[in-house]
Symmetry: C2
Subunit: 327 residues, 2 copies
């Protein structure tokens, strides 16, 4: 049994908790929170909730710690800190800061003789894996990544920060025409606006100036100004009823050529259609936690990404079973 | 520079030869043939062709040997033989015999302190990798593999063996309705007939009994009897003109559930659309040859499959570059 701990208890942590129940070789030992443990109720019977200050006392009771925190402030501090005590897995996704995060975590993990896998999920994560492997196979070509249709939590939060907005949900939607052009091997050069549109469902506070809110959304730098954005004002009930889930997905494509004259064209496509972004991401974190455990058992240490994990390590099946059933 | 040798000079070997030219960290050193070397003309300037009997004398001149032979008789003998002398990569695809092949190759590779990667290509190979990783992420679900639209060389050969047939090309075609049902998360149970159809273009010898040929094709056990098969008789000119290429492709899908009540559904899809099956397969063999070289450099040895290769080893980029540009 691989003994798992989870730090934090937001959407992603709950997704990982649910995933552990689907993997008979793993058990959830404890959940750690910065809040009063008595105020946190987990869904797995018999699993205790402890304050993060108690984490060091679990050093010999937990094989891999899954970090459910956010990339902005939690993980830059938590991942190095806990990598010194445990094998850890995080979902750090601030792209520009990955080299710095990697260096900090690598130093800590090596000090503790642990494995720390960072930037795990589907992007970064599975999408990265597909981009990387496809690029290695077809070195001459272009990569395209489309996200959606799905809820962007960052964009939804950005709308919620506008004055007069009570709640909001933002969907990122890939543009079919662009996706089809890539699939057809046209190797198009695509602007930000040509790849995705944004659709917003907004609950306004009573008496708020809707025209002003819509204008503020559509002109918001980086988040919306480079996109064709649609804004719908709806009631709170409708938002909860029709937009309560966290679906997501997307497409990674590589379009490349081979042949002495580069005369043959190939398209590799990887597509995800997810009912629950946090549960799917949590499922990946759990599979990677297994890999971290196996790598540690073999005496490896340091910071890793999905690029460094031999795929067999993700699976509960033996190498013989994998070769017999999935090769 | 990684020094590559190729054994055999059929379609797959020529695909690998073309791929090496797209990878600046690799060079083709020699091609080996069972035929008179003077009768074989390779496409890469300055590369010599040698008889297979000369292979042992290249022990210190070649880092990885790519085996372009067939699974029926060539590879069971060649892969263990050459794994004792070189790091090797093969495309062994006789599924039922993989455990036996693995054991033979593993023993030889360990004896020679070499890395031998078997069953490399897109199926087995990339499709296996996607099935395996997706199954590890979503342990509760179903895998579906569709092939095509593309030319099946095995089925084309089977038609050519019929009396009165001069030449033939057989396309395997996935059934859209079945593919859509899987994409929609319906988790259908699909018979062989429901997943693929077969379309045959046949050049008959003059005066041959077309009705008899069509009947023999459609009733051929395993190859055609379990499928809806269409047969078109065409001229030799039309066959060459319209069906001269070797396109292929296919789809691997995993449809699975997550959540405490298994209430959320996810579909992972991997799709290939290939102008040239042998060139794409050759490109994969070349990337895997690089991984074999790196694994050997680290002191690893024995038989491996795509499941055992850390993805970063496939790439010519450094770990830092991969994290910066593709993660």
């Amino acid at each position: 049994m691989i003994r798992i701990g989870i730090i934090g208890y937001g959407n992603l942590s709950r997704g990982a908790e649910a995933a552990i129940r689907q993997n008979p070789d793993m058990e959830l030992v404890a959940v750690f929170s910065r809040r009063d443990p008595k105020s946190v109720k987990v869904k797995t019977e018999g699993v205790g909730v402890y304050h993060v200050d108690d984490i060091p006392s679990f050093k010999d009771k937990i094989d891999v710690m899954i970090l459910g925190g956010g990339s902005a402030t939690d993980l830059p501090e938590q991942t190095p800190k806990y990598a010194e005590m445990f094998n850890v897995v995080d979902s750090f996704d601030t792209h520009a800061r990955i080299p710095e995060h990697f260096a900090n975590v690598d130093e800590a993990a090596k000090k503790g003789n642990n494995i720390a896998v960072i930037s795990v999920g589907w992007d970064p994560g599975m999408f990265s894996l597909l981009r990387m492997v496809s690029t290695a196979i077809l070195p001459e070509g272009n990569n395209y990544t489309f996200w959606g249709k799905g809820v962007s939590q960052g964009h939804s939060d950005a709308i919620r920060r506008i004055d007069g907005v009570k709640d909001a949900r933002q969907y990122t939607i890939p543009v079919d025409k662009a996706l089809d052009a890539v699939r057809n091997g046209e190797n198009p050069t695509l602007s930000t606006r040509e790849m995705h549109t944004r659709e917003c469902f907004v609950v306004a506070e009573e008496g708020a100036d809707l025209a002003r809110i819509e204008k503020e959304i559509k002109e918001m730098p980086n988040y919306f100004d480079q996109y064709d954005t649609t804004v719908h004002f709806i009631s709170e009930e409708e938002l909860l009823e029709k937009h309560g889930g966290l679906p997501h997905g997307g497409f990674v494509l590589r379009s490349g050529v081979t042949g002495l004259e580069k005369e043959n064209h190939h398209v590799i496509e990887y597509a995800l259609k997810l009912d629950s972004n946090p549960e799917f991401t949590g499922s990946i974190l759990v599979a990677v936690a297994r890999a971290a455990y196996k790598m540690k058992q073999r005496g490896d240490k340091g910071c890793k990404t999905i690029f460094d994990i031999a795929p067999a390590d993700l699976s509960a099946m033996s190498p013989e079973e994998l070769r017999a059933h999935l090769l």
